[in-house]
């Protein structure tokens, strides 16, 4: 069977899902599974079996609405599909009985419809504000195909990009990438075409391609979602890139904390082999490729390209001096291109749809779309994709729905620990490479952590430094010792030991570490301090001069107390206190012993639902 015939057959099979009998798509990526997707699936299966109702039940990936997991989609022939959210066991039972078996949709649980036609009382999902503002291109298949079925990917135009690339030579493919303007999505934003060209220019017999799936930035899970929901979109990009640079071996370095992504990658690779997209003489092109998966072992620094290469080579993950750059001397000493997961998916998309289509959104220097994980104190947490140039305000408020509990926005951390935080006064900053650098942050891999007024920015800086210091590989002195020093100073400030000299010291340290560190981890390690002192200096001064944590967060600055005018002596907090710090009797005012209190937040949380009598006050 040739490629065209294969695609036609798969299209037919996929379309049958919508035309012949009922189908139920269960969102089964990590978020969905952890929220209870399996229970929802088993409940539906059980109800359908009892009723003798036939339906195709398929595990799909993540549609990106993580805040509403578990999510399922009910598809009935010739009708628009309905997407349900927060599908608990009870809700799953009702959906099975009412909608699936008796064709009576349940708008009260629906998030939106999908496909042709309209269901009364339900807005199509992609016409709703939060989805309308997005441009889901990289994520086009996520939530709509079975990631363990290569046929579904083929039916959506999958691998047509590689077939196109087969008939082109390297310089032609590079021209396409240049025209598209695609920049590396791992964080640095280096022009992809240029990296590939440098590798080819090294003029060696053996080149390697490495796909960086380490995604170490805390708060970022875009790559995880893509690998779990549409692994072939990444694998096709790897095929195209490897073919262009003449690599016969490609490595995927994926973090071990992503077991489901690893599992789905392995299945996808096996299916590629079965269908002749991997191995020798792929699809008769004369091109050979072997893909090897390497699991990370828990080192954040191995997301840095030269440390990653060291790890693949079986060594401690310490970075190397550059030059020589990996495109000259990389893996095992050979010219190597290291590209991020989303860059690979972008490459496949460009070859499938064309450079012009890719670059019809974005800004002058930042073309195309970018996926982001929108997390933290925002209502609609999840995975989004927007054209570059969209503002932070639009993302946080229009797509994200604003702050949880209608609280007040304080800052958004972008670019992971190496990035920076952007405060309210700069919320109109467009998300593109240059604008973010101008604001003192960076694009990074795409994690957006939203913070509200309950977040202490000094503590955030301390947290990031703790992370960076722990992950420092130890090779170079400025980073190894400098990060420890910065952390110690920040720890002092957050534990009532800060002095005025500390701010000067931090500034001096920051400059030295930036200049002297060997790799990006060290060079960007002062960024949490630089951005928070730039925009939230008043918080530092409050800690140091006034002995106050304005956000009422840092433990040594606060204490918990019960308001005697509100407390009704219900004993709920008393019984739940893990260190028995609360005394009192039924119907009598309770008192917290501040010497015993560990400020775990249990009583605060419990009383919020009752009288809201527990207060956080200044320790002084």
């Amino acid at each position: 069977m040739n490629f065209e015939e294969m695609v036609q057959q798969e299209k037919k099979e996929y379309d049958l899902l919508f035309s012949k009998k009922d189908a139920v798509f269960i969102g089964s990526a990590t978020c969905g599974n952890s929220a209870g997707a399996l229970i929802a699936k088993e409940t539906i299966e059980s109800e359908l079996e009892k009723a003798g109702h036939d339906a195709e039940i398929i595990d799909v990936g993540c549609i990106g609405l993580c805040y509403a997991e578990p999510i399922i989609m009910v598809l009935k022939p010739q009708k628009p599909a309905l997407i349900y959210g927060n599908v608990t066991k009870k809700v799953a039972k009702e959906i099975a009985k009412s909608h699936i078996i008796h064709d009576v949709p349940l708008p009260e649980y629906a998030m939106g419809s999908w496909g042709e036609g309209q269901i009364e009382g339900i807005t199509p999902l992609f016409e709703q504000k939060s989805m309308k503002m997005q441009e889901r291109r990289i994520l086009r298949n996520c939530g709509f195909i079975d990631p363990t079925n290569i046929g579904h990917y083929l039916a959506q135009g999958g691998y047509s990009g590689f077939i196109m690339a087969m008939s082109m030579d390297s310089s032609e493919i590079i021209e396409v990438m240049k025209k598209a303007g695609v920049r590396g999505r791992g964080g640095a934003g280096f022009p992809t075409w240029m990296k590939w060209q440098f590798c080819i220019d090294s003029n060696q017999k053996t080149n390697y391609l490495v796909c960086n799936a380490d995604e170490g930035d805390p708060g970022a899970f875009m790559n995880r979602s893509l690998l779990e929901s549409d692994p072939h979109s990444v694998l096709e990009g790897i095929l195209i890139a490897a073919k262009t640079i003449g690599a016969e071996k490609a490595y995927i370095y994926c973090r071990a904390e992503y077991p489901l992504a690893l599992e789905r990658l392995k299945i996808a690779i096996a299916q590629m082999k079965e269908r002749g997209f991997l191995g020798e003489n792929i699809q008769g092109s004369g091109f050979n490729l072997e893909i090897i998966i390497k699991e990370g072992a828990g080192a954040f620094v191995c997301g840095e390209e030269t440390a990653l290469l060291a790890s693949i080579e079986g060594e401690r993950g310490t970075p190397r001096t550059r030059p020589p750059f990996p495109t000259t001397e990389g893996l095992f000493g050979k010219p190597t291109v290291i590209n991020n997961v989303e860059t690979m998916a972008s490459v496949a998309l460009i070859m499938q749809k064309g450079a012009e289509k890719y670059s019809d959104v974005g800004t002058e220097n930042s073309k195309g779309t970018k996926t982001f994980s929108l997390v933290g104190q925002v209502k609609n947490t999840g995975l989004i994709e927007v054209p570059l140039g969209t503002t932070l305000k639009e993302v946080i408020f229009d797509i994200g729905g604003g702050i949880i509990g209608d609280g007040e926005f304080k800052a958004v951390q972008i670019g992971g620990p190496s990035g920076g935080c952007i405060p309210a006064q700069h919320i109109d900053t467009p998300i593109d490479y240059e604008s973010l650098l101008g604001a003192g942050a960076m694009m990074g891999s795409g994690g957006l952590v939203v913070m509200d007024q309950s977040t202490c920015m000094v503590e955030v800086a301390r947290y990031f430094l703790e992370f960076i210091q722990r992950e420092s590989c130890g090779k170079c002195v400025p980073c190894r010792l400098g990060t420890k020093q910065m952390l110690d100073v920040l720890t002092d400030i957050t534990t009532v030991k800060g002095t005025e000299k500390d701010l000067v010291l931090l500034s001096d340290l920051a400059m030295a570490i930036k200049k002297g560190s060997l790799c990006g981890l060290g060079q960007s390690s002062p960024n949490p301090i630089l951005t928070t002192t730039r925009f939230f200096r008043n918080e530092y001064e409050a800690h140091i001069k006034d002995g106050v944590c304005p956000a009422m967060n840092c433990k040594d600055f606060i204490k918990y107390a019960i308001d005697s005018e509100i407390c009704d002596g219900c004993m709920v907090c008393l019984k739940s206190c893990p260190v028995r710090a609360i005394s009192g009797a039924k119907d009598e005012i309770h008192i917290i012993d501040t010497d015993k209190c560990v400020k775990c937040g249990t009583c605060l949380d419990l009383c919020k639902r009752k009288k809201n009598a527990v207060k956080v006050i200044n320790a002084q």
Binding site: A35, Y67, A297
Partner: protein, 156 residues
């Protein structure tokens, strides 16, 4: 050693095999003991110091046995701002151990890990291979409902 030989037979002993080899061994035995490291050294021809140098660099590798149930709490940014520290402290209190330790009866071990990628449903933790999300102090209580460290301590 039979299981070990089975694992070793999948590899040629090249340097670039070292990390996957150690991962397979830890998967099978639960941790990397000194004896196992000696065998890896013999197999690869690399000195033990080099093997330990690589193994100790990566936080995934354990040198002490883990508990029957292993709990790894995520300390990523999203989890941090939604209360991961409180969760860890709550678990430490409940299990009566500190992070990085195993209960004396070998039932539970606790560690904090880098980002699990479940950020939209923070705070999250991995219990063996299962991810638990949207944790709270109360869900911590539920997680260890049937376990009482003092009772177990009396049995030892």
């Amino acid at each position: 050693m039979q299981d070990l030989n089975k694992i070793l037979s999948n590899y040629k002993g090249e340097k670039s095999d070292l990390i996957p080899l150690l991962q397979d061994i830890q998967s099978e035995y639960g941790y990397l003991s000194e004896e196992l490291m000696e065998e890896v050294s013999k197999f690869t021809g690399a000195p033990e110091s080099e093997i330990f140098g690589v193994a100790t660099f990566y936080t995934q590798f354990r040198f002490n046995p883990k508990g029957k149930k292993h709990v790894a709490v995520c300390t990523g940014t999203a989890c941090h701002v939604t209360g991961a520290q409180q969760i860890i402290e709550g678990m430490e209190r409940h299990l009566d151990i500190k992070e990085g330790e195993t209960t004396p009866d070998g039932e539970y071990s606790l560690e904090s890990v880098g980002c699990l990628g479940c950020c939209a449903l923070a705070p999250a933790a991995m219990v063996d291979d299962e991810i638990k999300s949207k944790l709270s102090i109360r869900s911590v209580k539920k997680l260890f409902r049937d376990y009482n460290p003092k009772k177990s301590a009396n049995k030892i």
